[in-house]
């Protein structure tokens, strides 16, 4: 029997290590959307650090048969703590890569290549960690006072590893289920939009990469303390793909799924192949193992892209324990139906016409959106001076100088390619101008990053669908509310007791807005499953909850049923009366006629004219450039 005992102890340690690593990667990839193709180097960093911190000085021990740095001979648990710190520090150089602007897949290959190269360097530079041969005779914790070969020791080791993994599970869960976690998932679904709503992408990604690196580092330390050796062959870049396979199979974004994936893939494969008799050439079994992992990835992404345990849909509209907050009875079925539907099935114009913006007239925008006392002095709140944008030598926007008055609904029209959306994007900071300045409330904000502009009160919407697909409608709305105390790494760490009451109040506020716009029955449906018009409304509501002073709308009525478009227009007018300033890019002249004053006409990147629609119709060049065509 004792041999089984050792076997289970080994399984326990390996399982805990794999599960911990998968939890770290799942937090990065499944929750925050960072495709860290170099994850394994963080585990390796932890393992090496723990090894050289616990080993004696290389020059004075083991007859000097291996070379390594440090050799501080520290007692447990200091090497493990050092390993976690080292894993976190290793994240810092990569922060530039995953920062704000770079495409996710480009950053991913950057990390992949880093993993290849670091492995190469450690393999060839012997003085660091003994090169290709690797480090051996790593002291196991307490080996001087405890027989490390005994069953008691091995089980205790497994127990400690398991307890730490459970701790990591609750840590990542605590962060994921907080307002900060909601922001991370929003960033995962659409980072440019999250940025435009005021989320600091670099700060979010930095904290995620550091925490993920610390978790990976700790898992490496636990592993190396048990197997007492560590070499470059243990952390080839392809090992990261194994962990990705585990998360994809288990269910990205679901922490239980990550643990399940760890048990199925890395642990399962190790243990299955251990007992296979040698067949064919010596490379055959390992090679087939890699083929199987590749096949699992492709097949799962095709047949079950959300994994065995898909990410859970968060129901926020009512509190399970409080029947008073229950949604209207018909809601449940519809919401369930919505979430089950394939996104594109619902996006047709007919369903848009059915949306009733029923209660919205009762909404007190001023209180709900924290607009403050209306000033409506129509002063210039936003202006540009010689704004110009050039792409590849083609000037798209040229010398645009405009002023936007507070409390007005300013329209911006022009033929395709006139530079309307580009101008709007420069106002919001999504694009930076090639030359010229932008002033907001008397301040030059030309170089202010877009997320800071959003926090200062300039919020934009997008021409293309930009909902956070795998957040519910209500989550989409709540995620936009600025200055949430749980919407930071440390705020989230402090737990629900710290941010819970405030979050409930925010949810209630979002529910009121949702109700006003007639979409309450979809509160708990995934936003990605709504019709085109409904998604437009969600986007506008979300922008409103970001508490803008200036709202920049990029074709908010495109693809929306005309009846609904006019209802939206009415509400925008009301918002302006409540003290908001709106700039709207739009194609539809009837909407401009009905709602916008003044209107700016752009053509070929230049301001052609501005004034009321009635004035513009009298100008020959405007009629020629746009109104007739």
């Amino acid at each position: 029997m004792p041999s089984y005992g050792f076997y289970f102890a080994i399984i326990l340690v390996y399982g805990a290590v794999d599960a911990m690593a998968c939890l770290g990667l799942n937090f990065e990839f499944g929750v925050a959307g960072i495709s860290n193709f170099g994850f394994i180097i963080f585990q390796a960093m932890g393992a090496y650090t723990a090894a050289v911190l616990s080993m004696p000085n290389a020059a004075h021990s083991n007859g000097g048969f291996q070379q390594y740095v440090l050799g501080w001979h520290l007692p447990w648990p200091l090497p493990w703590i050092g390993a976690a710190i080292a894993g976190g520090l290793l994240a810092l150089p990569f922060v530039f890569l995953v920062g704000k602007r770079l495409r996710g897949d480009f950053a991913a290959v950057g990390l992949l290549v880093s993993a290849v190269l670091l492995n190469l360097l450690v393999t060839n530079y012997v003085p660091l960690f003994n090169g290709a041969a690797g480090i051996s005779l790593v002291p196991a914790p307490f080996q001087s006072i405890w027989n490390t070969q005994g069953l008691g020791y091995q089980f205790s080791y497994g127990a400690v590893a398991t307890i730490l993994t459970i701790g990591v599970y609750f840590l990542v869960k605590r962060l994921t289920e907080s307002p900060f976690g909601r922001s991370l998932r929003a960033m995962r679904d659409n980072d440019i939009v999250a940025d435009s709503l005021g989320k600091d992408l670099r700060a979010q990604r930095t904290s995620v990469l550091i925490l993920g690196g610390m978790i990976a580092g700790l898992s490496g330390a636990i592993l190396v303390g048990f197997i007492t050796l560590w070499a470059p062959s243990a952390w080839g870049y392809a090992e990261t793909i194994v962990l990705f396979a585990a998360i994809i199979i288990g269910g990205a974004g679901n922490h239980k799924g990550a643990v399940l994936g760890a048990i199925i893939v890395p642990l399962g494969f190790e243990e299955i192949t251990r007992y296979l008799p040698p067949v064919g050439n010596p490379e055959l079994v390992p090679a087939l193992e890699w083929v199987a992992i590749g096949l699992l990835i492709v097949l799962f992404l095709w047949f079950r892209p959300n994994g065995i345990l898909p990410e859970r849909r968060r129901i926020l509209s009512h509190d399970k324990n409080d029947p008073a907050t229950l949604a209207p009875p018909e809601t449940g079925d519809l919401a369930r139906e919505m979430s089950a539907a394939v996104p594109d099935d619902l996006s047709d114009d007919h369903s848009d016409a059915l949306i009733k913006i029923g209660n919205v007239d009762r909404l007190n925008f001023r209180d709900l959106l924290r607009l403050g006392e209306p000033v409506n002095d129509h002063r210039v709140i936003l202006s540009t001076n010689g704004l110009t944008k050039t792409f590849n030598g083609v000037t798209v926007v040229s010398d645009v100088t405009i002023s936007i008055n507070q409390g007005r609904l300013t329209g911006m029209i022009g033929p395709n390619g006139a530079g309307k959306s580009t101008t709007l994007a420069m106002l919001a900071g999504t694009l930076s101008p090639s030359s010229g300045q932008i002033f907001y409330e008397g301040r030059d904000i030309t170089s202010l990053p877009s997320n800071k502009r959003a926090l200062a009160g300039m919020v934009r919407t997008f021409q293309l669908a930009s909902e956070f697909k795998k957040l519910t409608v209500l989550e989409n709305l709540v995620s936009a509310i600025p200055h949430q105390s749980g919407d930071s790494f440390f705020g989230a760490l402090r737990g629900k007791r710290y941010w819970g009451a405030e979050d409930r109040a925010n949810i209630e506020r979002a529910k009121d807005v949702l109700d006003g716009f007639g979409l309450f029955q979809y509160a708990d449906a995934y936003a990605g499953g709504l019709s085109g018009g409904q998604r437009r409304l969600v986007e506008i509501m979300r922008a409103l909850l970001a508490e803008p002073k200036v709202l920049l709308l990029d074709e908010p009525m495109a693809g929306v049923h005309p009846n609904l478009a006019h209802k939206i227009g009415d509400q925008l007018t009301r918002l302006c009366d409540s003290g908001m300033t709106i700039v709207m890019v739009e194609h539809e002249l009837s909407l401009m006629d009905a709602f916008c004053d003044p209107v700016i006409v752009l053509a070929e990147g230049r301001v052609l004219a501005q004034g009321t629609m009635a004035e513009l119709r009298l100008k020959e060049e405007v009629v020629e450039a746009y109104l007739v065509g």
Binding site: S35, L97, R103, V298
Partner: protein, 290 residues
Amino acid sequence: MSVFLSSLGFGLISAAVLAIATVGFTMQFAVTNVLNLAYGSIMINSAFVSYYVNEHGVSAWVALIGGVITGAVASWLLNRFIYTPFQRRNLAPITVVIVSLGIDLIGTFGLQAIVGGGYVSFNQSQGHEYHFLGLILSGLQLIIFGICAVVLVGIHGLLKYTRLGKAMRATSANRNLARNSGVKTQFIISTTWLISGALCGLAGTVFAMNAGVFEATSAQQYIVLLLAAMFLGGPGEPYGAMFGAITIGVATEVSAAYVNPQYKLVVAFVVLLGMLTFRPFGLFGSEKTN
């Protein structure tokens, strides 16, 4: 000086091979927006097909055609039956990259499972040694260089002077606009994958010939060079790829002569990370409208 010149000669051959490979890689990215990380595995599979044809007594230079066809067909199938269906599902772009990593594992280790782990080499002579301008090159190297040069000129002619090439450039600049202007984009994308796949197969085979000995996982780190060369010249830019490949190819081999050759990939790595951090749209490119 002689160290420099001999490494320069070797660097020029490597650069020419890398140029062929990178042009194919970047063309795939240009028309379908896919970073095909399985590219290296198709290269080495093509090389092995050429090798087996060569084993049956066929001249290595004729066997090369087998590798070219393998690369073309395998790449076309990969795009047609794996990447395109995944892209149609409107998943996050990273999903297709992860799929390509999975395909890379299947391709590389599937090959290893079949052929085993041993090194093989083509049955061909190195040819005479030629000296000129201080460079020393073998006949084999000169033929490889010649093939690469002819193919690169051919690609230039294709892109610049044929309807097909113009349609390919239009499709890569803006697929929807190209379609609305009457370009049969599906056909163009298929053709691009065939042509780029042929380049992949050719590059794989001459890479293996140039290396002398090779095995199933020999091309695994080649992706580092491919990515570095592509990003240096700007992703999706065939001419940028040629420039990037020549720079990276020469720089890695020349640096290998002066520092430990094990570190020669470091140059490519530094270039790649630098480009990704500071100019992800290439040395000469500028940001795209979308």
